[in-house]
C-alpha cells in the first residue's frame, strides 16, 4: 500500500495567528538544514578545522568534539551527505533537519527574556557573539547560540518545540514579544 507523506512543521497551526510585529520577535525557521556531527575519537581538532574552513556551515558547540551544524547554503536533504564527504573518517554525521526546530529570538530584551528560564550568564562578556552551548531552559535542554548582541539562535528537539515556544511566551510576559514563522 502506498502512502503520500506530507511535511508538516512541528508548530504548524500553533503560531502565526497574530501578524503584528513587536520589539522582540521569535522567528521559527520553516525549513532548517541541521546535522549532528560527532568527531571520531581523537579527531576533534581535524573535524573542527574542516567545519570552520568551509564558509558554508555554522557549527554550534554542543560538547567537546560534538556540534550542531546549520547551513543556509545546503538543503535539508543534502546537508548530511555534504558534511560526510568533507569530514570523511574524522567524524560521524547524522541528519537532524526534521528532528530539530531552529528558532531565532531577536530584540532589545532577548537576553532578559532568556534569563527568565535559563540559569547561565548571558551577559555579552560571559556569552559573547559566536558562543554556543546546551542549556536548560525551564525543564528543556536546548542548544543556545549568540548570533548577535541582542540575537540568539535556539535549536530544540522537534517534539519539544511547542512546549519551548509556550515557555518563551511566559518568559517574555513582561516584555513585548511576537512569534511567527520566518516565511509564510
Amino acid at each position: 500500500m502506498a502512502y503520500d507523506y506530507q511535511t508538516v512543521h512541528a508548530l504548524e497551526g500553533t503560531i502565526g495567528a497574530v501578524s503584528e510585529r513587536r520589539a522582540n520577535h521569535l522567528s521559527v525557521h520553516r525549513a532548517s538544514a541541521i546535522a549532528s556531527v560527532l568527531a571520531a575519537p581523537g579527531r576533534a581538532a581535524e573535524a573542527a578545522g574542516i567545519l570552520v574552513a568551509s564558509g558554508e556551515f555554522e557549527a554550534r558547540f554542543v560538547a567537546p568534539g560534538e556540534w550542531l551544524v546549520l547551513s543556509d547554503v545546503h538543503a535539508p536533504e543534502t546537508l548530511g551527505a555534504e558534511l560526510s564527504v568533507r569530514l570523511g573518517d574524522f567524524a560521524f554525521v547524522v541528519d537532524q533537519s526534521h528532528g530539530r526546530v531552529a528558532l531565532t529570538l531577536a530584540g532589545p530584551d532577548a537576553a532578559r527574556i532568556l534569563a527568565n528560564g535559563i540559569g547561565a550568564d548571558l551577559h555579552i562578556d560571559a556569552f559573547p557573539v559566536g558562543r554556543a552551548a546546551n542549556v536548560l531552559c525551564n525543564h528543556l535542554s536546548v542548544n543556545l547560540a549568540r548570533t548577535g548582541g541582542d540575537r540568539f539562535g535556539i535549536v530544540v528537539t522537534r517534539s519539544f518545540a511547542g512546549a519551548l515556544v509556550d515557555d518563551l511566551k511566559v518568559m517574555a510576559r513582561s516584555h513585548e514579544l511576537s512569534v511567527d514563522f520566518d516565511t509564510r
Binding site: A63, P64, N134, V135
Partner: protein, 91 residues
C-alpha cells in the same frame, strides 16, 4: 548542596542541569579480584564530612561526566574537571 557548578566545557551552571552519580574515589577491582574486594567496591562507602570527590554528569549541557571536588559541609566547590582527565584526557 553546591548550587553553582562551573563545567569546564559549558561554563557556570545551576546544579539542576546535572545528575550526581556519587563517590568518585573507589577504584574498580580487577575482574578476578576476591569477592571481599568486589563487595567493598559495590556496597561499602565511607560517609565523610568535608572535602569529597564525586562524579557529576552535565545531563542538560554537554552530557560529559565530570569530577566535582567539593566540601559537603561548607558547599564550597574546589575543582570541576572532565572525568577523562584522570586518564590523560583521551576521548
Amino acid at each position: 548542596m553546591a548550587s553553582l557548578i562551573t563545567c569546564p566545557h559549558c561554563g557556570t551552571r545551576p546544579k539542576e542541569e546535572f545528575s550526581i552519580r556519587g563517590d568518585a574515589t573507589p577504584v574498580r577491582p580487577a575482574p578476578m579480584a576476591p569477592d571481599e574486594a568486589w563487595n567493598d567496591y559495590a556496597h561499602v562507602r565511607a560517609n565523610p564530612r568535608g572535602r569529597i570527590r564525586e562524579h557529576w554528569q552535565h545531563v542538560s549541557g554537554c552530557r560529559r561526566w565530570l569530577v566535582v571536588e567539593r566540601d559537603n559541609f561548607t558547599h564550597e566547590v574546589f575543582a570541576v574537571t572532565d572525568a577523562t582527565e584522570s586518564r590523560g584526557g583521551a576521548r
